[in-house]
Symmetry: C2
């Protein structure tokens, strides 16, 4: 993992809104250092700030204006493009990495790294890409592989999150799966419940297997399995209780008997 | 894999631009069926069309207006939210899947599936999420985990691309790695080149190993290795040639001799 998160460089963007979108994605995925080559004017009441969300408080106002040459001189540079070479005869855009491959390889590198995005529409041109160290391209539909600048940057920053985000908002869920013993207890209760319901004995084992498969796939939480245990216990007890009461009246309690 | 790609449902969006952004991401990642619950007006000259790119020609004009209840009734529904439950005591938003986990699980399912996104700012509310079958959440920075609606949808659709995109724009690169025999030939040439350069014999093997490691990590293409072979062959031949010429003049050709 690199010591610092990658910096994000946007070259010659025309639309302030895209810069705001990129700033927001940076903050969402743990990056802070935005560098702009030949940026449009960023009006504090304009679209860049409108799209930046909370990144309008830090990432966006702290953005630096730089030259392309400064970026090339000071960083390990990754150029992002929708259009790759088809094979190694077009080596300006080949070989390339996908965002996931880039994440895997940057994990092993400790170097100041810059992710470089080009202008809307045309992206980075060949002369720019030729000066960059690596090429990254997002796999998309062959029918329409050209992503909007802000959306492309969002996907790449998302894929690099393991390098940059120390703590996500999501809880650790490993421990939440119910204990096997409780799940087995649930399956025993299913058997009792079927018996108490007067379920046809010939179908009983098949139905229990079906329930086992369903619950097995769902990986129930502790909460879920205990709720289901409670539901079944209550229903089974009520079935037995009502059966006993009906026996007192010598009433047939099961319609399929 | 489901027979049809998932449909994308946007509930109560306020901003036409976000609907355009989502339409574009759908087209980029092989989805076509956009359904809108209580949408804002979509002016053909407005932001939805402006942000949709080429999706303004198909995905966006073909969007259906539907009710939330129709979606719940007809699809296996996945609700997308930045805010999950912390554990199973909050089961409206727990358990959840990450986009990658969702892609893995949908791969095994053949069912009409709807990806449901909520309004800007607040997302889907608890009453809506309670009616949906699964919850999906994008891991992001705990400092600022709330993504813009269009950016969140872009990431989820990107992660599902293996289910929906038959052919990406990217070439198959497996076959592009150079043949091992050519790479070995390159390493032999490196030895010859070092010898012809008058490289210090004591450092020769160490330097060859260094080059082997560097090239091994880079997985050179056929084109790259042949270009390097050509460079080394020419340089070695010139070194030898000039050495022979200098020998005729009884001139020391190597400064470190």
């Amino acid at each position: 993992m690199s010591r610092d998160p990658p910096v994000v460089v946007v070259v010659d963007a025309k639309t302030p809104g895209n810069i705001g979108t990129i700033a927001r994605a940076m903050k969402n995925f743990g990056m802070t250092d935005l560098k702009l080559v030949n940026p449009p004017e960023l009006d504090p009441d304009g679209e860049a700030h409108g799209f930046a969300g909370h990144a309008r408080e830090d990432v966006l106002p702290n953005a630096d204006e730089v030259t392309f040459e400064e970026v090339v001189a000071n960083y390990h540079t990754v150029g992002c493009t929708a259009i790759t070479g088809e094979d190694s005869r077009r080596h300006v855009r080949f070989p390339f990495k996908t965002p996931r491959e880039l994440a895997d390889s940057l994990r092993t590198v400790d170097a100041p790294t810059a992710l470089v995005f080009g202008r809307e529409g045309r992206g980075l041109d060949n002369e720019e890409l030729a000066q960059l160290d690596e090429v990254c391209s997002i796999p998309a539909s062959d029918d329409y592989p050209v992503l909007n600048l802000g959306q492309a940057a969002t996907i790449l920053l998302y894929e690099l999150r393991d390098l940059t985000v120390e703590e996500t908002q999501l809880p650790d869920v490993e421990r939440e799966r119910a204990e096997e013993a409780d799940i087995e207890r649930f399956h025993d209760y299913v058997g009792d419940f079927l018996d108490a319901s007067g379920y046809k004995p010939v179908k009983r084992d098949k139905t229990r297997r079906l329930v086992r498969r369903l619950v097995g796939r769902a990986h129930p939480t502790d909460r879920e399995i205990h709720t289901l245990l409670g539901v079944l216990r209550r229903a089974t007890a009520q079935l037995d209780h009502r059966s006993e009461l009906l026996d007192e009246y010598d009433e047939p309690d099961r319609w399929d008997k």
